[in-house]
């Protein structure tokens, strides 16, 4: 007999999903919409539309400098985190079960320590060793934060790698380093690529650590924060919209690439 009663749990699940999506997208949509407003203040109705704010933003030297600075920091911390994270993941799979757990737990600790705490402790640390605040300190902070994500992604991939593959490379004449470079690394590549994209996004987005460790140059989030302090304006909306569009497409592209590589 067919079920004549409507499928309530399923309907509820679907409804909640759409409600969540609405809640998620509404603020973003509003922000984007207001970036086209032809007036100096942020409020409805939008009235006339204009691209002037965007023109202003992309000609804004401060904004462009902050972008470049953020990208530079992201690149440096991602590179460092990828090398350290891969190294730790390789160490974990090479160790016995008991040490694996310990090393793994320590390696992912930075991901679960609250940003505030990690930022303050890093700040205290760098003043203890007389390291100046600024670029180096920010990169250090971002790297520490990013390593766990690389470790987790690299480890997942390494665990799925047939153990015989490295043996096969050794058997065919490769020493340990050649086997790593020619077999393990290419096998890890999709996971590492995904991990790197994630690190870049984490770094670009980071405010708390950068705030505590930074010097006089502003990263993107710091610049936006400073601008908001001076009062809302559609210019900030335009800036935020640009950042949102670029990082989202970046993230989606990364997901697409890793997914394609993983199914092969």
């Amino acid at each position: 007999m067919r079920n004549l009663v409507p499928d309530f749990p399923r309907a509820a699940l679907t409804a909640f999903y759409w409600a969540f999506l609405f809640y998620l997208l509404l603020p973003l949509t509003l922000m984007m919409a207001l970036s086209f407003k032809d007036a100096n203040f942020v409020s409805f109705p939008i009235g006339n539309l204009t691209l002037d704010w965007y023109a202003k933003v992309i000609q804004d030297k401060q904004f462009l400098e902050a972008c470049l600075y953020s990208i530079g920091i992201a690149a440096a911390s991602t590179l460092a985190a990828t090398i350290i994270g891969t190294w730790i993941a390789m160490l974990i799979v090479a160790e016995g079960i008991r040490w694996q757990v310990v090393i793994f737990a320590l390696a992912v600790l930075p991901a679960v320590v609250p940003g505030m705490i990690s930022a303050i402790s890093l700040r205290i640390f760098i003043s203890t060793i007389d390291m100046p605040t600024g670029t180096g300190a920010i990169i250090l902070g971002h790297t520490v934060h990013s390593v766990p994500f690389v470790v987790v992604m690299a480890l997942t991939r390494l665990r799925s790698m047939p153990k015989n593959m490295v043996d096969a490379a050794r058997d065919l004449g490769a020493d340990n380093i050649v086997a790593f470079l020619r077999v393990t690394l290419p096998y890890l590549a999709p996971a590492l690529f995904g991990g790197m994209m994630f690190c870049v996004l984490l770094s670009i987005d980071d405010f708390v650590r950068t705030f505590f460790l930074g010097g006089y140059r502003a990263t993107l989030p710091m610049l936006i924060f400073a601008k908001v302090q001076g009062g809302m304006s559609p210019e900030i909306n335009a800036m935020a919209t640009l950042v949102l569009v670029v990082t989202t497409s970046f993230g989606l592209y990364a997901e697409f690439i890793t997914r394609r590589a993983r199914t092969r």
Binding site: N164, D171, L172, R182
Partner: protein
Amino acid sequence: MDPIVTFENVTKSYGTFLAVEDLNLEIERGKFVTLLGPSGCGKSTTLRMLGGFEVPNSGRIMLSGKDVTRVPPNKRNVNIVFQDYALFPHLSVARNIAFGLELKGHDKKQIHRRVSELLELVQLQEFAHRIPAELSGGQRQRVALMRALAPDPDVLLLDEPLSALDAKLRQQMQMELKSIQKTTGKTFLFVTHDQEEALTMSDQIVVMNKGKIEQMGDPTALYSQPSSTFVANFIGETNLLRSKVQSVNGDLTAVDWQGITVKAGPGALLPQPGDSINVVLRPESIKCSLSEPSTTNKAKGRIRQRVFKGNHTSLMIEVANGAVLNALVHPSDIAQIGDQDIWVGWNTDSTTLIPDKHAAE
């Protein structure tokens, strides 16, 4: 002739587990040699020691006259075909095969020539640029084989490479492996737990059990002249007639098989009257008939179970002394036989004697 591989008193243990115990083995150049045994018998450990992935606790391994006991895998001239193939998923078929050659520093032209030559040998020319994920199981198997053959190893090691294939493909690959071994003239050391596989392909079979060599010889000898109950049971199907020796007359031994006197053919051992002994009787050697047969040995019995298998029928026969024999007969041979008393018979030359291990202990 000089053996290409020699194991001298090789022992390997993991903690308290003795994987291989005092192994002495010589492998002849150009032969297809199979290490056969149940899992945990030490066959894979033996292969991995020759491959360089395990180092023996004691003893010596010689390869082409050189001591390689402690030489790492990348520095010895043997290659392995792994059980799961272990192809490099990011490289094309051609690049997989070229891997070993590139590391040996051959020039590009040479590599290209060798790779096409090998691809041709297994008819995979048009798959050269595919990646392993785009190949079938049998094709991957062939690529793994060619990748291991490419650097021209002294010995090719094969670690149960056919176990992942389905029955039909496995049979086909057995033939192909054998013919590739013949055309290339390479020494193959094959590891398997499948006795049929071993019988089909090998020039020489080494049966291993509990870290030791139980018996070695060519397939026919192993099948017809097993030297222990383990080998008799492991290779092919067997009836073991537990008996007592009555008298010995040259090659002929008369034994008492639970009340029935049986004459048995020669075995490796010299029995004495009164000894406990096993007579190995293969199921296909047993003939069934309604009238008394002219074979050397005969007994009355009844068919208790028959299973039709197409080209043969498998029978369970209860013999007059209460023992049960397994027999394989041609279906038409027993078409006339029902539930009545029948005769079973077999000739002396289809039996062999082996010591009764339980009595010896």
